[in-house]
């Protein structure tokens, strides 16, 4: 079956009994989520009606599957349904019924039939240490699995912080030498979708965008889809008013915590974290960490796990090696400099006094 023979999203939706009204709603929601103008809506509808569903291969490499969990729990029920069905998910170990050889055969078939036309979504990092023995699938190392699947992909989506920056397993000392996808795949566009886990809608949004415009969405300077990752959590945070006012939670059970004050002093990384949590939120817009009272850990930022301790505002640098945060280092430096200046002053005075006593002539005291 060639790609052209595959049914379009709309055909699929009709078959599923989804009404035209709901279909259009979905298109509108997608357009809004991607930050597109209203004029883009007909284009989206047209693309969804005519273009065949993109085949997707979803790899699970060295990871904990929290990204998959997020992926199947998209908030809006229609979106959730569509995520799973709008793409023709040809291979995903977690969800597919087939196992073993059958699963492998399905993947091989997609890679052959749709060479150059399928999207590769990768969850997890690549374990490269000791020849890749720390993570193997079907007897192959994660690196060879990834390279094989990426060969005929039109683009690679690095889904989740593991795939973007090696996340927890890549934190110091990184025993398995886990590396992110972008270090292995250098000849294809790699879209970084970081987060631990990331928001599911980003995948749908990326696919809709690609179908509509035939190009990949605009990326930030860190290679992430701009529509979702251009703003800081802090700049859209619902506790921001308390930050600006200067009202901070000091401990998790104080009065400020009850009042919903800003979590800055509890170690909130919202001010330096670029993600859509504060806007799209989680579980159908129900909440996100800060809203529910926990400081942001900055899970979508590179190597967030090394930037601890989590509940203090400044991390120890670098990666706990010194075990001091910048302010402690600064104060120590100041102390040392002060002591050095004092010692130097004493030495100078001693030198002068010494001179005075040995050469008791006024001329020699000048120091000039």
């Amino acid at each position: 079956m060639s790609l052209e023979e595959k049914e379009s999203y709309y055909q699929w939706a009709l078959k599923k009994g989804i009404s035209r009204r709901n279909f259009l709603k979905f298109c509108t929601a997608m357009g809004a989520m991607l930050g597109l103008e209203a004029s883009a809506l007909p284009k989206i509808v047209n693309a969804m009606e005519t273009k065949p569903r993109i085949p997707v291969i979803y790899l699970n490499l060295q990871e904990c599957t929290c990204c998959s969990e997020s992926f199947i729990r998209s908030g809006h029920p229609l979106v959730a349904d569509l995520i799973l069905n709008m793409i023709s998910l040809d291979y995903m170990e977690v969800l597919q019924a087939a196992a073993g050889d059958q699963a492998e055969a399905a993947k091989q078939k997609t890679m052959k039939d749709f060479f150059g036309k399928y999207l590769l979504v990768v969850e997890g990092s690549v374990a490269t240490g000791d020849g890749g023995v720390y993570c193997t699938i079907g007897g192959k190392t994660t690196q060879s699995v990834l390279e094989e699947a990426a060969e005929g992909a039109l683009a690679v989506v690095a889904y989740g912080s593991c795939a973007v920056n090696a996340c927890v397993q890549g934190s110091a000392p990184n025993p398995t030498n886990a590396v992110p996808v972008k270090e292995i795949i250098t000849n294809k566009p790699v879209i970084n979708v970081p987060g631990c886990p990331p928001i599911a809608e980003v995948i749908t949004g990326t696919i809709v965008y690609y179908l509509t415009f035939g190009t990949l969405p605009e990326l930030t300077n860190q290679g992430r889809p701009k529509a979702f990752y251009q703003h800081r959590i802090h700049d859209n945070c619902n506790r921001r008013a308390f930050f600006d006012a200067g009202q901070f939670v000091e401990s998790f059970d104080d009065e400020g915590a009850k009042q919903g004050w800003c979590l800055y002093k509890m170690g909130c990384k919202g001010p330096t974290t670029y993600n859509a949590c504060a806007i799209t939120q989680w579980n159908d817009g129900l909440s996100y960490p800060i809203k529910s009272g926990h400081p942001c850990l900055g899970c979508s930022e590179d190597h967030f796990f090394d930037k601890g301790p989590f509940y203090t505002h400044l991390a120890d640098v670098p990666n706990h090696v010194i075990g001091k945060n910048p302010d402690q280092i600064g104060l120590i430096g100041l102390g040392v400099a002060g002591a050095a200046a004092g010692a130097h002053a004493l030495a100078t005075a001693a030198g002068k006094a010494g001179k005075t006593s040995t050469h008791n002539s006024p001329k020699d005291k000048s120091g000039n």
Binding site: R232, A245, T348
Partner: protein, 249 residues
Amino acid sequence: MTQKEQVYVWQIPIRLFHWVNAFCITILFITGMYIGHPAFTVSGEAAGHFLMGTCHYVHVVTALIFTANMLFRLYWFWAGNDYAKLRFWRKSFWQDTFKTLKYYLFLSKKSTPHVGHNSLASLLYLCFIWLAGSMMIITGMAMKSGSDPNGTWFALFGWIIPVLGGEYNVRIWHHLLAWGYPLFLIGHLYMLFRQDILDKDGTVSSIITGYKFVETNSCASPDLDLSSETISAGALGALGAVSSQNNSL
């Protein structure tokens, strides 16, 4: 007893730069410390306060003045007199640096007379004021501009975020480098008061008046040729020439 004469060293723009810079750094350090460690928490309704917001605002406005001041000084390297220059690419600069270093390490007793900065001091300015200062400006502007990711500021400074590996690292660097300023201040104050006391050359007051007192027989540092301006200023300064007795302690 040595004859001393008055030399016009720091032109008005230099003195202005110095004090604007000192003022800005003080404000930036204090507001920055509050932003990093909001020590006091206000009570009542959030709508009634804007403490962090005000600090942040003052910090940003001062940072812009600070940056403009730095840019002006950059121009004055070119336009100013010989003492306004920092020619670290010359061999004589480094020779003087080592000589001065030896002097400060008590390895040589003689202080080389300098009218402007000695090379060691210039080197400290290069590191603490110029290199660290530029990093402070870039990292600070990057953090400021993140709130408008499609704006001009972000286009100008946003590149530092991926270079340093994320905005959290940008923040860490901003904090770390900020401590360079008080560190520098200790060295700066110590060295100039020491210089003033030992050589009686008016180093301390020169940043207000512009004049220093220099022994007539050895008034130039090796790498500085006296400009006509200096000489005429020196002649003018003869009016107020002070003969000082260095052994008067």
